[in-house]
């Protein structure tokens, strides 16, 4: 399976809903709490004068309205997850993580 789709499935399983959106267009009506994620970087490693291994980094934003939402800890324990920051916008909390997946 495509690694991005695998990540989509894993995030949906973690969240327990299908409110997981990959780079959603503006006309998509988002249901909260939600995870919105996008690819931010591809780190390439080289061998034999060629690209050898790629690591895809995703910015994963958990958007919710509960200031004590424990799902943040669940996301923080995802392998390779790194918490970056939290901010509030449109009366919703945004917790930003960077996750490397394959």
């Amino acid at each position: 399976m495509d690694s991005r789709l695998e990540l989509q499935t894993k995030l949906e399983q973690l969240l327990g809903t299908r409110n997981v959106y990959f780079q959603p267009p503006e006309n998509v009506k988002i249901k909260y709490p939600a995870i919105i994620y996008s690819r931010t970087r591809i780190d390439a490693r080289f061998a034999n004068n060629n690209g050898y291994k790629l690591d895809h980094a995703y910015q994963v934003i958990y958007v919710h309205s509960n200031p004590d939402d424990s799902f943040i800890d669940t996301l923080a324990l995802f392998p390779t997850a790194r918490f970056q920051r939290e901010y509030t916008a449109n009366n919703l909390y945004h917790d930003v993580f960077i996750i490397y997946y394959k």
Binding site: R45, A47, N48, N49, N50, Y52, K53, T80, Y100
Partner: protein, 285 residues
Amino acid sequence: MAKLEWDKTGERLFETGTKNGVLYVYDSSKVNASTGPYTPGVAWNGLTGVTESPSGAEATALYADDIKYLNLYSAEELGATINAYTYPDEFAVCDGSAGIEVLAPAYSSSSTYAKDAVVSYDGHNYKAKQAIETAEAWTAAHWELLPSTMPMMIGQQARKTFGLCYRTALGNDTDGQDHGYKLHLLYGCKASPSERSYETVNDSPSAITFSWTITTTPVSCTINGVTYKPTALITIDSTKCTQAGLTALENALYGTNGGSGVDPTDPYLPLPSAVYTLLASTANG
């Protein structure tokens, strides 16, 4: 002779990169008159760098008559460092491991076997090409040799000698990195024990880079009737070879697929005199 010029167009050369690593394990029990003492080569994937490190040739000054009388030079040695993300299974015996084959139940001449049944015979695993419905003595034609997998490795064993070939790019100002390349052939290599640091997966993904320090034992080198000092390194510049000679050498180093009535050939590491023969005989022929 015309006046010297520097950095003319097309002469601004540089070297870069490393790829096409091939490992050849030394096995004195399988010495072949035409292909030398190394087993057929295997591709080294994930090669990130090779550093050649000549050492020795150190001067010892002798004094006499109140003056520096002469310098004596120690023998020159060649070491190297190989860096890679992985290594071929065949390298394990060069890195102090012994591979153990897991054998299927032994073949019995009083048993029958279904097609694809796996048995062991004479230290190797075989798969039945056809059903053997009547018990028989071992018949090689009915069995297909399965490739050795060596799933079990034992450490701290004797280290085998190996040869190595790799290619670096030769660039210039007009052709870029496609100007040519150099083939580096290393003989009599022995890897020293090296550290492997395994770490937990974390928020900064990384892959282990293996690194091996290599010492070499030079091999004798008589080329075109001239006896040179033994050497552990030969370098071939593609821009200075004939295409036919280079093809002959690369066919030896990398093997060939064969086709249209021509058998495939195994890759092998020719000794220095054979390298010259490959480059020269084809060029002159």
